[in-house]
Symmetry: C2
DNA sequence: CCATATATGTCAGCCTTATTGACATATCTC
DNA sequence: GAGATATGTCAATAAGGCTGACATATATGG
């Protein structure tokens, strides 16, 4: 998974001259660590995806469909925050290669419910496995007592307005 | 800052059927938290950059030039891991808008040493300030005793072969 | 039953940021 | 002077976003 362009809401408004801020020195180390950590975090899936001629966009779609079986197009657009035109291109490819299956809604026949196929599930799990392995290894370099703090920190990095929604989607129990 | 595509080296090689792994459940929560955290982390600069008709590529270049005054083209390419053609496009724009200044090397006149101008420094600081504010706020939601663990965790997420180099570049002392 | 709203699909064109390959120029080093 | 090195540039291509416009199927409310 890699972050798409997102137009969220302005949060911390800081005076135009940041040098004159009250807070003092900027946390350059953490800014750069986060940048490099994320860069390498997505590099593992990238290599697997390249074998299949897929990109990060495919990964994101497959990941969330696998994690949320029966997801509709509208829900997926809301998670990914991209346009339906952009989604459609990669979704078509994932359906065409039988990693994702589309089912017409029962209650509302306008809706399309997305499901990972067996091979889609396997690929999603393989991609999550390499990322999970990096996370697991990184956690080991830190006392276990600090693990909850890491989760709390990452959660607090998310826009406050989105936090609740994100957390509710995340805590679904293992689908992998 | 946002991560460019990177072709690192394969690290954790996991059996093709991740379901059969020894480790057990995959850390889906941390995978998704990292994704959403990074997405929002880059959204703040994105809004400022949009005002100036700049993109993330400009941010990355300006950031590292500001942090490493006198950086050469080759060194910058090594940090960003993009091609010189890609770099040149955004660099030209940053030089054209006088956010970055190019100086011919003294010892080696083939080299170009890059420096942020006063306005480049101000913009870089402004961008770092919004990201720093998000980080500062996130750190507050965690006991201060866990702060070193967060730094250690992010460091451990970086490819081991790159870690030393990254850390040595990061620990430069405040240039902002 | 009809009008309108909703969920999705699709066409066409554009932008940014990356890529590869080829080649040019200036300068340094042996 | 020959060759290596640092940088610049031209051209073509690709991925993955975007906007705008429009089509279709289905639901829903009056």
């Amino acid at each position: 998974m890699e972050a798409p362009v997102v137009r969220g809401k302005v949060e911390a408004q800081i005076a135009n001259d940041p040098e004159a801020r009250a807070g003092g020195a900027l946390p350059y180390e953490l800014i750069e660590l986060f940048f490099f950590a994320y860069r390498d975090f997505v590099s593992d899936p990238d290599r697997i995806l390249a074998e299949l001629e897929f990109g990060r966009a495919h990964h994101r779609v497959l990941h969330f469909v696998n994690r949320n079986p029966g997801l509709t197009i509208a829900e997926l657009l809301d998670i990914l925050k991209i346009t339906k035109q952009s989604l459609n291109r990669v979704l078509k490819e994932l359906v065409g290669t039988a990693f994702i299956e589309v089912r017409t809604g029962q209650a509302d026949r306008r809706q399309r419910h997305l499901h990972a196929t067996a091979s889609g599930h396997a690929l999603a799990a393989r991609l999550a496995a390499v990322q999970g392995e990096r996370i697991r290894q990184a956690l080991q370099s830190v006392p276990a007592s600090a693990h909850p703090a890491i989760e709390a920190y990452l959660t607090a990095m998310i826009d406050p307005e989105e936090r609740k929604q994100v957390l509710s989607r995340i805590r679904k129990g293992p689908v992998g």
